[in-house]
């Protein structure tokens, strides 16, 4: 019985599948983390986004997911690293990203063309292919894939092997693969899922009088989901 178990574990280890099954047996490898750019969030993630893993930011519109993704990209560029953004629906705003501290010169931006592509799944396939190319090339500290405007049904149609294949590109590298999506789809075994929620109370308003009132930002409320010990 013991010999059979060891044999199965050896086979899993040879195919690099041991992390999901035999974590309790094998000593956990130390995971290098990259700051998210939001100091209050990093302690909750044991230092930040885990390198060599696929993590995701999940939430509805106006939940602060784009702010969080932009903060992570900005933190990477502030350290002098390169970052990449695969912008599926071409929604990136340079002014607000620059105000968030993102160094635009260090950002590789691949923008989809929703007006030129009639079918949404083609747009999605191109974005995922571009995401894989950047991860495969290496050298980027954070590579973000923005699927925030893709419907959950389109995401559900993707083969489950897609994310596994992408995870293989980033394994063992000092790169964070970050996916922004409306629903959880892509987290790897030791990655992190940050679930954000939106409500009318999320908006932060400043200014006393009606004329001086303005929207200052969104307060993030995040729920962390991960399989690893934080």
């Amino acid at each position: 019985m013991q010999a059979a178990r060891l044999h199965i574990e050896a086979l899993l280890r040879a195919r690099r599948l041991d992390r999901t099954v035999t974590d309790a047996c094998a000593p956990p490898e130390p995971v290098r983390s990259v700051p998210t750019g939001l100091p209050w969030l990093d302690p909750r993630l044991a230092g930040g986004w885990p390198c060599g893993e696929t993590s995701e930011i999940v939430g509805p519109a106006s939940s602060g997911r784009t702010s969080l993704m932009t903060a992570s990209l900005a933190a990477a560029t502030a350290r002098g690293d390169l970052a990449a953004l695969i912008d599926t629906h071409d929604t990136f705003d340079a002014d607000s990203a620059q105000a968030a501290g993102l160094t635009l010169d260090h950002l590789l931006w691949a923008r989809g063309d929703p007006a030129g592509v009639p079918r949404p799944h083609v747009l999605l396939e191109r974005a995922i292919k571009a995401f894989g190319l950047v991860l495969e090339a290496g050298g980027f500290a954070v590579v973000a894939l923005d699927l925030g405007d893709v419907s959950s049904s389109d995401l559900a149609r993707l083969p489950f092997t897609t994310w596994r294949r992408l995870q293989r590109f980033v394994e063992g590298r000092d790169t964070v693969a970050l996916v922004l999506a409306p629903t959880p789809v892509a987290r790897s075994a030791r990655g992190v899922t940050l679930e954000l929620s939106a409500s009318t109370a999320t908006a932060v308003w400043v200014g006393e009088s009606r004329r001086a009132r303005r929207l200052a930002g969104l307060s993030l409320s995040a729920h962390v989901r991960t399989a690893r010990r934080l």
């Binding site: 350290r79 002098g80 105000a99 691949a110 989809g112 007006a115 303005r214 929207l215």
Partner: protein, 548 residues
């Protein structure tokens, strides 16, 4: 023996100076290479030949000089030719002759324009020449060509110029005014001074000038390599219809070229692929590279990706690849900074991404110099420069900043927008000028929105109404008054090119039409925070951005 050819530049026909000098230098170089393979282009319009062994081919030295002068004249370049046992003596005599031809005191066809200095008589031949020739020759040797004749000499690298200057010690400015005060007018007067005293007063450069005045060489002749085109061609027995078999042929064509680049320490910044098609047409693709490269696999991949994105319309008969060589890239990586992708990797990656996402969809975002909401441009992504790496290594960590500053930064960073490049229209109900309900008119793009819970605004934004070519607002039918006072409709304005970013490497698809909007930030009952924009001219509401 050395044969020097110097063009009388001011005697040439009236042409733009740079083209004039370049053409004269090319003509003299062609004449020189017809006589000997060892040719040095000393500077603009000045060439030296190693004339040893030419007697068996062209006759005695005087005949060689006459032949060179005649061939230069046949090419339309009046020039002076001098043959001497030392390179310096030949150059000085030729420069003197060229100056006399230019000042019309010497006929270019006269025997005096082709001079032969007997061996051992260099000092005597140079003695009556004006001392200003030293300044002219020193400038050429140090790579300081006359400013009015186009600057740097052609065909010489900075390294060889620096080496020449270091050897001859002639990089210092020639003190012609000082020599004039000393009463020195000719080279012979300078050569007659004691070398030790000259060294005491002028340093090592003084010794160099002294030797030059006596016709002694400070360095040997350094032949200038003849520029060879980096071009290779492959003709196919059968036309190639697909890109994949073409990739194999590309490898055979590119690898020898890259080997030549490697030998010369060069790289290429431009790739030109010329395909002769079965329709007898030429299909040319030209790729610019961000850095000099010479890796054959990278270059082949870039060409293949480009041809996959822009396939030729017919089968290929002949393939030609041309490189534009420049100096190789020398990089000193930092041990302290993180390793970044090489330029070759970035070039390949962006080419692959372009093939997937489309032309003009991959690059580096640029914030344009305008107040138009969401205006954005792109420029080629080049990664990080070496200077950037060093600067980054000295940047303090973000976590070391004071907590108050950090909190403020975090709060400011939270207002991030998701722009709609084609804004979805909405219907907005107003109450005393303030939005109270927003209804989506495109339910596929925007879900149910509902009543407005909180709102702030309006903020007015307008611009580009002053620009020629954007006189009217897009979608309007502008009216103008005719001579008899009747209103005449103007043509619908056409969007002109983006003019907000002066950098030519930046491209943008933002139209430069006028806009005049009122913007509101609202939070609706579904929880969405939106930036609404009302076009004041057309009274039309759109969602400009989603606050996320």
């Amino acid at each position: 023996m050395f044969c020097a050819l110097a063009a009388a530049l001011t005697a040439l026909p009236a042409m733009p100076p740079a083209a004039n000098v370049a053409a004269a230098t090319d003509a003299l170089a062609a004449v020189a290479r017809g006589a000997s393979p060892r040719v040095e282009i000393v500077g603009p319009g000045v060439v030296v030949i190693d004339a040893r062994g030419l007697a068996r081919l062209f006759g005695q030295d005087a005949q060689v000089a006459a032949l060179c002068r005649q061939q230069a004249a046949d090419r339309g370049v009046p020039s002076a030719v001098a043959i001497a046992a030392t390179r310096t003596a030949a150059l000085l005599v030729a420069l003197d002759g060229a100056a006399r031809i230019a000042s019309a005191s010497l006929d270019p066809t006269a025997p005096g324009a082709a001079v032969t200095v007997p061996a051992g008589a260099e000092a005597a031949a140079l003695a009556p020449l004006p001392i200003a020739l030293i300044a002219r020759l020193s400038g050429l040797e140090a790579g300081r060509g006359p400013r009015e004749h186009g600057g740097q000499p052609r065909g010489k690298t900075a390294r060889s110029r620096a080496h020449a200057s270091a050897v001859s010690g002639l990089d210092a400015d020639v003190p012609l005014a000082l020599w004039r005060r000393w009463g020195l007018v000719t080279l012979g007067a300078l050569a007659a001074l004691p070398a030790a005293d000259l060294f005491e007063r002028l340093g090592a450069a003084g010794l160099g000038w002294h030797a030059m005045a006596r016709g002694l060489d400070a360095r040997p002749l350094v032949p200038t390599a003849e520029p060879q085109p980096f071009e290779a061609t492959c003709a196919f027995e059968w036309p190639i219809e697909a890109i994949e078999p073409l990739a194999f042929a590309l490898g055979r064509v590119i690898e020898p070229l890259c080997a030549r680049l490697d030998l010369g320490g060069l790289g290429t910044v431009t790739l030109q692929t010329t395909l002769r098609l079965v329709t007898r047409e030429l299909y040319v693709r030209r790729l610019g590279l961000p850095m000099p490269m010479r890796d054959p696999r990278v270059l082949r991949t870039l060409i293949v990706l480009d041809l996959e994105s822009h396939p030729p319309p017919a089968g290929i008969d002949v393939l030609t690849v041309t490189f534009e060589p420049v100096g190789g890239r020398i990089v000193q990586p930092s041990l302290l900074a993180r390793a970044h992708p090489r330029p070759e990797t970035i070039a390949t990656l962006t080419a692959r991404l372009r093939a997937v996402m489309g032309d003009g969809r991959v690059g580096c975002p640029v914030a344009l110099d305008t107040h138009r909401g969401g205006a954005i441009g792109m420029r080629p992504f080049g990664g990080l420069t070496a200077g950037g790496l060093l600067a980054v290594a000295e940047t303090p960590a973000v976590a070391e900043r004071p907590a108050a500053v950090e909190a403020e930064t975090a709060a400011a960073a939270r207002l991030t927008l998701r722009r709609f490049r084609s804004p979805p229209p909405v219907r907005v109900d107003l109450d005393r000028g303030r939005p109270v309900r927003v209804r989506s008119l495109e339910s596929r793009r925007l879900p149910r929105l509902g009543a407005v819970r909180q709102a702030a605004g309006p903020w007015r934004s307008s611009g580009d109404w002053w620009r020629t070519g954007s006189a009217a607002f897009d979608g309007d039918l502008a009216m103008a008054a005719s001579a008899d006072g009747a209103a005449v409709p103007l043509l619908r304005p056409v969007a002109i090119e983006s003019v907000w970013q002066p950098d030519p490497s930046v491209w943008s698809d933002e139209p430069a039409t006028a806009w005049d909007d009122d913007e509101w930030d609202v939070v609706v009952e579904s929880g969405c925070a939106l930036r609404l924009a009302r076009d004041r001219r057309r009274d039309r509401w759109v969602v400009a951005a989603l606050i996320d």
